[in-house]
């Protein structure tokens, strides 16, 4: 029997974490969803809250990692994937 839902864990770091007031959450998606779908779902869940729009609108600075590897919004998701959203890094 094929499961038509997947659950991914979502992480926010640095200014995004602070702005949204959340560092980690789990999101249920349709099987076959890509990261862009995850972003849409997150915005819907937040009722298009301004802060969430701000994070996901900043296409030039928003960085995405899937399972700790940088990727693009068209990356397909699997059950249990860890997706992280963060601004450009500033270590060193």
């Amino acid at each position: 029997m094929k499961n038509d839902k997947i659950t991914v864990s979502v992480l926010f770091f640095a200014s995004y974490k602070q702005l949204l007031g959340v560092s980690e959450l789990n999101v249920e998606l349709e099987n076959g969803a890509i990261i862009a779908d995850l972003c849409r779902k997150l915005l819907e869940n937040a009722k298009n809250n301004e802060k969430w729009q701000q994070v996901f609108a900043s296409e030039t600075s928003l960085k995405i990692a899937c399972n700790q590897t940088l990727c693009d919004p068209d990356k397909g998701l699997q059950q249990g994937d860890q997706v992280a959203f963060f601004p450009p890094v500033t270590g060193g």
Binding site: V89, T90, G91
Partner: protein, 166 residues
């Protein structure tokens, strides 16, 4: 002829919320270098500002797991590109006061050129690739203000030096 052989694990990598013991890390590259007689140590510290806009402290956050992987990848590329006898990369996270070291990057090579280039290469990529974020805590006219440090375009520019040769 009896000869003392010195075997070193060439790479030491650490991310820590404890104050960096610079003397310890210095010794890792300045002592027992064997034939790798040229070493370069870079240390980056929280600056002690003297202006009106007074920097009180800095917070450093990272992405545990991903950061270690990314730093190891940078070191692997450096080790492939230059013949290095020693690489030490240590990055601090947590709450730091002015003057405290943030990052320590050191290399030992056969010749000074390799040691300088490899240390600068690791620093350049660490700055642009490794998942660390800095927040500065200022006190301006008696009021505390927290500011996330913005990524610098100049850091991206620095990478061109290495990419042209890649």
């Amino acid at each position: 002829m009896k000869q003392t052989e010195i075997h070193l694990n060439p790479v030491y990598l650490a991310i820590t919320d404890k104050a960096l013991d610079l003397a310890h890390f210095n010794r890792m590259v300045q002592q027992q270098q064997g034939e790798y007689g040229a070493s370069v140590i870079f240390t980056g510290s929280v600056r002690v500002s003297s202006a009106e806009k007074h920097l009180v402290a800095m917070s450093l956050e990272h992405y545990p797991g991903m950061t270690e992987t990314l730093l190891q990848q940078i070191i692997d590329k450096a080790v492939k590109r230059w013949q290095l006898g020693r690489v030490v990369v240590v990055h601090r996270v947590g709450y730091l006061k002015p003057g405290e070291p943030i990052v320590f990057v050191a290399t030992a090579a056969l010749h000074r050129r390799e040691a300088f280039e490899a240390a600068e290469y690791i620093m350049d990529y660490l700055k642009t690739d490794a998942t660390f974020w800095k927040q500065e805590h200022y006190r301006i006219n008696g009021v505390t203000k927290d500011v996330w440090v913005e990524a610098k375009q100049s850091d991206q520019q620095r990478l061109k030096r290495w990419q042209q040769k890649d």
